[in-house]
Every structure is written in structure tokens, then in C-alpha cells.
């Protein structure tokens, strides 16, 4: 049997960070007391009418521009009808056959469409499971109801769970840089569903897909998709067929449970929303949306690789987080005589390690100037790399600290090669390690480590490793 290939498409809901809700004047909120941000409109009292939020439409146009989508000259809203207490009108205002944006691309993945809609209210099921089944009571918090959403749907272009998670991260960064959403998965301002299927590698046909819901982190997205792919592969390899259904991913257990099958799928009875007129963006709005775009990750990666000669990997690492990218560029500006890759290595390597080991968050990064000073001292061989790292740790612990002052106080300044001090320490080390000296002379280069170690111990790491190696070889050659 041919190997089974994974076919994955994502549906991502982005809550827009507008001031007010999609169709009424209630403020957006997170974590406030329940049902305080409500009005007759978002509670669906009889007789109310929706009025679209202009800012939300503009944000959607910015997303469309960032994803290289075509914008519909005239898109319309539809009603998606279903009964559930989280939907006070018993329909969601969404877009159906004419979405505001379609046919885009982000990285290698094609975007099928992006459309505007409103979020449902939040249900809280009182009971052990936290889910409706077996709950003693269900409460509704309408604060979230009516929050503007853009739903982004990809083509089924992703080929592994890891690729799906990585692409979802790129999308998040892209949306984040537009400043149109908080993109916080835990708070639900970014939500991700995956459509998963398998097919024989090389086949052009799509297999029967299942839809995975409730993956509220990229890690869970990857795990959920992996678990589902594995289930489908086992099923198909054993001669079975996949049934179209919607699955709920339980992150704690990794279990996938069926929410509903195709037969139980809702008939949403979509029809054009008669209370709203079509969205017809003006040329001016479209131009403004395009011109407002900041440099997006994909373009930034290109610039880092092309202009700064960074490796693709490092470039992606930096460009993936606008804060880090900005920080890196700040440091690089002050160290313009040093190779960018070296600066980047400090940011992604030593600095990241320091923050992690000292349990500091990204905001605790030292001033770009402090890191620039350290990098300069190391490249000018004033201090060793090891001392540089030690200084960096000290600066992360106390951001007020001046790196130069620390180096002076700790006496980390490297012994320069022309000082007799280092030469005599090397001589002493060679003398006190006769066996190692003998082995080196006999051609065993590795034995030099013991002597270098002794020198480093004596100099407390202030000596430059390369210089020490050179001096030892010189001494032994005498």
C-alpha cells in the first residue's frame, strides 16, 4: 500500500481588537464581570437591528491586504441559523457565498477566504466536566457575544501537524503585527480548527475529512492533528474508511471525541441578512488598508537573509516575533561593524538562554545598548565569550548594571597575548602536566584540553581560548 499523506487545512478565528462590538456600541472586554457589556441589540431584544462596525471592516481589509487576498467589490452578510443559548438571535450574522476576501497566500499556504462575522456569547457549564453533557446548569455570559471576528480559511495545503502549527504561528505573528487583534489563544482571541484527512501519497483526490475543534494552543494543535492523523492512518491501513465528523480534542488526555457526525450536521439555513446592506469598500479604504501594512514576517525574513546575510533559520526565528525582531535591529544598529549573524546569535542564543535560566520574561531584556557593548567587548577580544556571557547574565539580573563596570569590577578583562603573565601561566601549566605535554608531542592533539583547562582555571577564564592554544603549541614546540 502506498504511504498515506496528510492533508490539512486550517480555519482560524481572529477576534478583532476594535473598541466596540461588530453590530452594536457595547465595549469589547475580557475578564470583566459577566453580562455588563450588553445592550438590547447584542441581547437580541425584539425589534433591534444590527449596524456594522466600520473599524472591523477596515481591520478585515488590512488582514485581506496582509494575506494578499482579493477583496470583493460588494460582499454581503448572511444569517446562519441555529438554536443555542450562546446565540441570542438564534442566528449568527456571518458571510457565506460572497466573503469580503478570498484567494490569498501566506508563505507557501494558499488562503481560500477570509470573512467577517460576530462571535457567540460564552457558555459556562456548571458541573465537573465543564462541558454541557452532565452539567447541572448552564450560564451564559453575553459580554463576548457580538465581538467582531475574521475567520480565515486555508486551502488544504498543509502536509504535517508540525507544518500546520508552524504556519499557524506565522499567521498569528502576521495578524499581531497588523495590530488588529490580541491573538491570544488562551483568552480565545485566536482560535484554530483543523480539517484533517489522509490520502495515498501522490494522489490528487481528497480523502474524507474530520474537523478538529478546541485546540487552544499551537502545541495542542500539533498534538491534536498528530493524534487524528495517526487514528486515520491506522483506520485506513486496516482497511477501514474515515467518517466525516466533528471531533473535540481533549488536551489533558489527548483523546478525540465525536461531537457530531455528518448526518447530525446542522442545516444552518443560510440566507442573505435583510437587515444589512452590502459592504462596498471604497478605493480610498482599500488604499489606506494597503498602505497601513507594517513590514510583515515574510518580507522581513527576506530582508534579513538578503541584506543582512542571516541564515534562513535565524531570520525566521527573529522575524517570527516582532518584539525580538525590533530588539535585534536595535542592537545591530549599534554594532554595525560586526557581522549581523554574530549579533543575531547573541540575541537568539545567549540572551534567550539567560532569560530562560533566570526565569525572566521578554520584557526583562536589557537595553539594546547594553547587549551591544558586551558583543563589542567580545568581538574586540577585550573579554572572552565566556566572560561576555557571564556579563550578560549579570545585566539581565540587574538591567541597571553597566557591562563595562561589571567587567572592570570582576577583572574579566582578557589578558592580552603580549603580556608576560599569560605566557608564564602557560609555561607553568605545561610543566605541571608533563603527561599531557608528552601526548601532544606524540601527536595526540586532544590532550591539549587538560593544559588549556589548567590555564583557564588559573586565569579564571580571562584568557582568550585561541590565544591560550597558540601559546601552548608555541611552548611545546620549543
Amino acid at each position: 500500500m502506498a504511504e498515506l499523506e496528510a492533508v490539512i487545512g486550517l480555519e482560524i478565528h481572529v477576534q478583532l481588537a476594535t473598541k466596540t462590538k461588530m453590530f452594536c456600541g457595547c465595549e469589547l472586554s475580557f475578564g470583566d464581570e459577566a453580562n455588563v457589556h450588553t445592550c438590547p441589540i447584542c441581547l437580541a431584544h425584539p425589534g433591534v437591528l444590527p449596524v456594522p462596525n466600520e473599524q472591523a471592516i477596515f481591520y478585515a481589509l488590512q488582514i485581506a491586504a496582509a494575506l494578499g487576498c482579493e477583496v470583493a467589490p460588494r460582499s454581503i452578510f448572511h444569517r446562519k441559523n441555529y438554536f443555542y443559548p450562546d446565540s441570542p438571535k438564534a442566528y449568527q450574522i456571518s458571510q457565506y457565498d460572497i466573503p469580503i476576501a478570498s484567494n490569498g497566500r501566506l508563505g507557501d499556504i494558499r488562503i481560500h477566504r477570509a470573512h467577517l462575522e460576530e462571535d457567540a456569547a460564552k457558555m459556562i457549564h456548571v458541573g465537573e466536566s465543564g462541558r454541557i453533557h452532565g452539567a447541572g446548569a448552564s450560564l451564559v455570559d453575553f459580554n463576548r457575544g457580538g465581538t467582531p471576528l475574521v475567520e480565515i480559511v486555508t486551502e488544504p495545503d498543509l502536509r504535517s501537524a508540525a507544518e500546520a502549527a508552524e504556519w499557524a504561528r506565522l499567521l498569528r505573528t502576521t495578524v499581531q503585527q497588523l495590530g488588529v487583534s490580541d491573538v491570544n489563544m488562551e483568552e480565545g482571541s485566536l482560535r484554530c480548527d483543523a480539517n484533517v484527512s489522509v490520502r495515498p501519497a501522490g494522489s490528487k483526490e481528497l480523502g474524507t475529512k474530520t474537523e478538529l475543534k478546541n485546540m487552544n494552543s499551537f502545541r495542542f494543535l500539533q498534538r491534536g492533528v498528530e493524534a487524528e492523523l495517526e487514528r486515520q492512518r491506522e483506520l485506513v491501513e486496516a482497511g477501514g474508511t474515515v467518517t466525516q465528523e466533528t471531533l473535540h480534542f481533549e488536551p489533558q488526555t489527548g483523546a478525540l471525541t465525536s461531537l457530531r457526525s455528518k448526518e447530525e450536521a446542522h442545516d444552518y439555513r443560510y440566507f442573505p441578512e435583510p437587515d444589512l446592506v452590502p459592504i462596498v469598500p471604497t478605493e480610498e479604504m482599500l488604499r489606506e488598508a494597503r498602505e497601513s501594512l507594517p513590514e510583515l514576517p515574510a518580507a522581513r525574513i527576506e530582508r534579513y537573509v538578503g541584506d543582512l546575510k542571516l541564515s534562513t533559520e535565524t531570520a525566521a526565528q527573529l522575524a517570527g516575533d516582532p518584539d525580538i525582531a525590533k530588539y535585534f535591529e536595535g542592537v545591530a544598529e549599534m554594532t554595525d561593524d560586526i557581522e549581523s549573524q554574530v549579533v543575531a546569535n547573541w540575541v537568539t542564543g545567549d540572551l534567550a538562554a539567560a532569560l530562560r535560566q533566570l526565569n525572566r520574561s521578554a520584557e526583562d531584556r536589557p537595553e539594546p545598548g547594553s547587549l551591544a557593548k558586551i558583543i563589542k567587548m567580545v568581538s574586540e577580544k577585550q573579554i572572552s565569550h565566556k566572560s561576555g556571557r557571564e556579563t550578560l547574565f549579570a545585566v539581565v539580573e540587574n538591567t541597571e548594571l553597566d557591562p563595562q563596570e561589571y567587567v572592570d569590577r570582576k577583572g574579566l578583562a582578557q589578558m592580552s597575548s603580549d603580556s608576560n603573565e599569560l605566557e608564564s601561566i602557560v609555561a607553568a601549566a605545561v610543566e605541571s602536566n608533563p603527561e599531557a605535554a608528552e601526548q601532544i608531542r606524540a601527536g595526540n592533539g586532544k590532550a591539549i584540553g587538560a593544559i588549556v583547562g589548567a590555564v583557564m582555571k588559573e586565569t579564571k577564564g580571562r584568557a582568550d581560548g585561541g590565544e591560550v592554544n597558540r601559546l601552548i603549541k608555541e611552548k611545546l614546540a620549543e
Partner: protein, 480 residues
């Protein structure tokens, strides 16, 4: 001077401005008249207790009866349904707010067919309204309470809503004026939705001048209704005396159908009146209009099935008791809360929107709607107005058509095409006719339809015709 309640709203306004009557006298006389409601026209009367939102700074316009479909803060608003029994909205509709701001006190909320679905007012959960001309007969619907209140001397004028004829048909059956404005002329905000793409509110008045005055107060775009645009140039009181130079189109596709002989006689006499005023009668084709009822009874129920889904017992209104779970709560609340006609239309509409049937029903009906609108556009290229009887019959007896929904639906035969086209249409009383089965003569309405946003022209022509007809019959016991 005539008795206060004999004055039209415009006359009362004039008398108040001239200082001949005080605002308090005017409001008091009408409150007293409304209190004498023996037609079941009012569901709630304003006695001041719970109507802070209706407090008028300075009364300068005659009090008004408002169909119980307009949300009014703190005041019971039921839309004629059991499911909204006890519901007091937390906000006020734009139309009522405009009335209050204009200085018009609200007399009360009038009875109606449940959620505006009906042509006889027999679908109200709060009992039928009686026709003041003959209390064994219906006042028409769905704005039956508003029409009966004006015709019966219980209100000087009233606010109604029209989805397929719900202002024009009861106005015709009660012998008063009813105007359905262009879709978008008046804000729908706060008007409980039946079929959103068709619903439009408008005046039910004693004469055309009052209709113009009320429209002038109500019209205008509203930031709370994206589909409202208002009437550019506003509305002036009509003063046209003749119809010379105007062409009136008779659509044989509609008027060629069989309807009551008495209604036909009044219609034909009115055509002669038009000609005597210098107007020209022409034949026009509305080839798709006869399919109006079929299209309407797909589109309106489809939208209604969605609009009425919010009545689920969760947030307000009635909730069935003794239920065990969510589904049962939905089912029992809606089973107990809605009447038979509303349930029938929810089922029709749900079916028409279902996947697999959408194209055959809703999609097809929308195509017919477009064709009807195109028919009118073509017709208006050759004529200024399209004219028909308003209703195929005079007021029919209570219970006469309740067992036969289709014959009830056919009451809207002449009014539905204009609703589907979104154009303005007015019904004015044109005379009296005997019912088919014999009996005392009853009012007959004459419908004039105009192109979208041509309300001023429509009111001017209707005014000239009204003066020429000189309809002055009143139900027994009603002054004026």
C-alpha cells in the same frame, strides 16, 4: 367649533397652535375616547403610570395610537403574541421616539395579528378586534387595532406596519387612509420584525393630509437602521386640486381577476372621478404580479422563521414551566407561546430555507420578486401611478376565513406586489359597497402606488382624488 374629537390631527394641531384649544384639552379628550374602547382595539392604554419614555415635553401634536409591534421602554409590548406576554422592552423604537420628540402623546398600544401575520386581526393572542362599521365583521389586519381605533373614534390617528398589506387592507376595510411608504423611508429600529426585507411602518389616518403630516414626522434615515434612507426633501402637506397631466395605470393582470362586484363598481366609479379631474387612465402590464402572493408566502415566512427564532424563553418573555432540559424548554416555550398561524409560517419558512430546497423556494421567490420590481419600473416609464382596489372584498365576517388560510392569504392579492417591489402605496376610502352575501354597505379602499421615494407626488394625487370623492360616511355612533 366642532367637538374636539371630530378634528383631524392636522386640524387639532392648527387649533392648538392658534390657542383655540389647549394641548391638555386635546390629550384629555382623546384619552377619554380611548378609554371607551369597546372594539378590543387597545391592548394597553397610557395612563401615565409606567410610561416615562412616552412623556412629552410640550404637547403640540394630537395623541396617537401605536400598533403593539413598536418597542416602548417600560411599556408592555407583545406584538399580539402570548410569547411576549409581560415583556417590557428596555428601549424605545425610533418611530415612537420621533413621535414623542415631535410632541405627540401616545394614547396606547393597539391590538394586532400575532407578529403582524394575518389579514383579519383574528390571529391576536388577545382576542379579535371588531370592525366599528359592523361588529360581526373583521377590521382587517394585521394593523386591525390601529385601523379600528381611528375609524371607531378611539384615536385621531395611528401608527401601523405593513409587510404585505397590513396598513392598506385594514385601512380599506375600516374606511380610513393607510399609507405604506417606500421601504427605507422610515426607520425600522424597534419595530418587532416579521419579514425584515418587507416590513415598513406608516400612518393610518382619517385623511390624506394627516397621513402626510405623520409621514413628515416619521421619515428620515436613522443611524440605528442600516437600511433606512429617509425621503430627501421631506414631506409637505398636499394641496393639489386636479390630476391633469397625470397618468394612472390599471394593471389588468391584477384587476382582471375575479373579485367582489361591489368593490369593482366602486373601483370603476373612481376611475371616472380621476378622469373628471383631468387624469388619464391607461392600461399597464404587470405580468409577474399575479405570482406575488406565491413569492410573498415564501419570502415572508422564510425571514419570519429566522426573525422569530429569538423567542426561546432564555432572556425575556414567556418561558414554559416544568421543563427538564434545553431542547424541551425551546419546544414547549414555542409550542405554548406561538399561535397556529405563526407556527404555520415558521414551518413554511424553515422548509423554504432548508438545504436542498433553498433554490426551488427561496431562490425562486427572490427571482419572482425581482421580476415584479422590474414590471413596476417598466410600468412607471409610461404612467405616474398604478391603481387597483386595495382589497378584493369589503370587511368579511369574523370566523369566515379562519379555517381556510389560502383564502385569507388572497386578501393581500392587490397589496403584496407593491410590498415586494418596495414602493409606496396608499389606500383611500372610495365609497361603500354591499358585501357579497348582502347586508349594510361597507367601505371600499382604492389603492394608488407610485415609484420608490415618490411619496410627495403620491400624497398630492391622493389628496386631489380624496377631495373629489368626498367620502364622509362614518360608522354609526362615530362623530366627525
Amino acid at each position: 367649533m366642532a367637538k374636539l374629537v371630530e378634528l383631524t390631527a392636522l386640524e387639532a394641531h392648527g387649533a392648538m397652535v392658534a390657542g383655540e384649544i389647549s394641548a391638555e384639552e386635546c390629550a384629555g379628550a382623546w384619552a377619554e375616547a380611548a378609554a371607551g374602547d369597546d372594539l378590543n382595539a387597545y391592548l394597553w392604554r397610557n395612563e401615565g403610570d409606567d410610561a416615562a419614555a412616552l412623556e412629552v415635553d410640550r404637547v403640540c401634536v394630537a395623541p396617537i395610537a401605536v400598533k403593539d409591534i413598536f418597542c416602548t421602554e417600560g411599556v408592555p409590548t407583545t406584538a399580539g403574541s402570548r410569547i411576549l406576554e409581560g415583556y417590557r422592552p428596555p428601549y424605545t423604537s425610533t418611530a415612537v421616539r420621533r413621535l414623542v420628540e415631535a410632541g405627540a402623546p401616545v394614547l396606547g398600544k393597539t391590538n394586532m395579528d400575532e407578529f403582524a401575520m394575518g389579514s383579519s386581526n383574528e390571529n391576536s393572542a388577545y382576542g379579535p378586534v371588531l370592525n366599528p362599521w359592523d361588529r360581526t365583521r373583521v377590521p382587517g389586519g394585521s394593523s386591525g387595532g390601529s385601523a379600528a381605533a381611528v375609524a371607531g373614534g378611539l384615536a385621531p390617528w395611528a401608527l401601523g406596519t405593513d409587510t404585505g398589506g397590513s396598513i392598506r387592507q385594514p385601512a380599506a376595510l375600516c374606511g380610513i387612509v393607510g399609507l405604506k411608504p417606500t421601504y427605507g423611508a422610515i426607520s425600522r429600529y424597534g419595530m418587532i420584525a416579521f419579514a425584515s426585507s418587507l416590513d415598513q411602518c406608516g400612518p393610518l389616518t382619517r385623511d390624506v393630509s394627516d397621513a402626510a403630516l405623520l409621514l413628515a414626522i416619521l421619515q428620515g434615515s436613522d443611524p440605528l437602521d442600516s437600511t433606512s434612507v429617509g425621503l430627501s426633501g421631506g414631506i409637505c402637506l398636499p394641496d393639489r386640486e386636479d390630476l391633469s397631466g397625470l397618468r394612472f395605470g390599471v394593471p389588468s393582470d391584477l384587476t382582471g381577476q375575479v373579485f367582489d362586484a361591489g368593490v369593482r363598481a366602486v373601483f370603476e366609479a373612481t376611475l371616472e372621478k380621476i378622469e373628471s379631474l383631468g387624469g388619464e387612465i391607461a392600461e399597464v402590464a404587470l405580468p409577474s404580479a399575479e405570482h406575488g402572493i406565491s413569492a410573498y408566502y415564501v419570502i415572508a415566512p422564510a425571514e419570519a422563521s429566522s426573525n422569530l427564532a429569538r423567542y426561546d424563553g432564555v432572556r425575556y418573555g414567556m418561558r414554559a414551566e416544568g421543563v427538564d432540559d434545553l431542547l424541551e424548554m425551546y419546544e414547549l416555550t414555542r409550542a405554548e407561546g406561538f399561535g397556529a398561524e405563526v407556527k404555520r409560517r415558521i414551518m413554511l419558512g424553515t422548509y423554504a430555507l432548508s438545504s436542498g430546497y433553498y433554490d426551488a423556494y427561496y431562490g425562486q421567490a427572490q427571482k419572482v420578486r425581482t421580476k415584479i420590481a422590474d414590471d413596476f419600473s417598466t410600468a412607471f416609464a409610461g404612467v405616474d401611478f398604478v391603481i387597483t382596489p386595495t382589497s378584493p372584498s369589503v370587511a368579511f365576517e369574523l370566523g369566515e376565513k379562519t379555517a381556510d388560510p389560502l383564502s385569507m392569504y388572497l386578501n393581500d392579492f392587490f397589496t403584496v406586489p407593491m410590498s415586494l417591489a418596495g414602493i409606496p402605496a396608499i389606500s383611500i376610502p372610495a365609497g361603500l359597497a354591499e358585501p357579497e352575501g348582502g347586508g349594510p354597505r361597507l367601505p371600499v379602499g382604492f389603492q394608488i402606488a407610485a415609484p420608490a421615494f415618490a411619496e410627495q407626488k403620491l400624497l398630492d394625487a391622493a389628496f386631489a382624488l380624496e377631495q373629489a370623492i368626498g367620502f364622509d360616511a362614518r360608522p354609526e355612533g362615530v362623530d366627525g
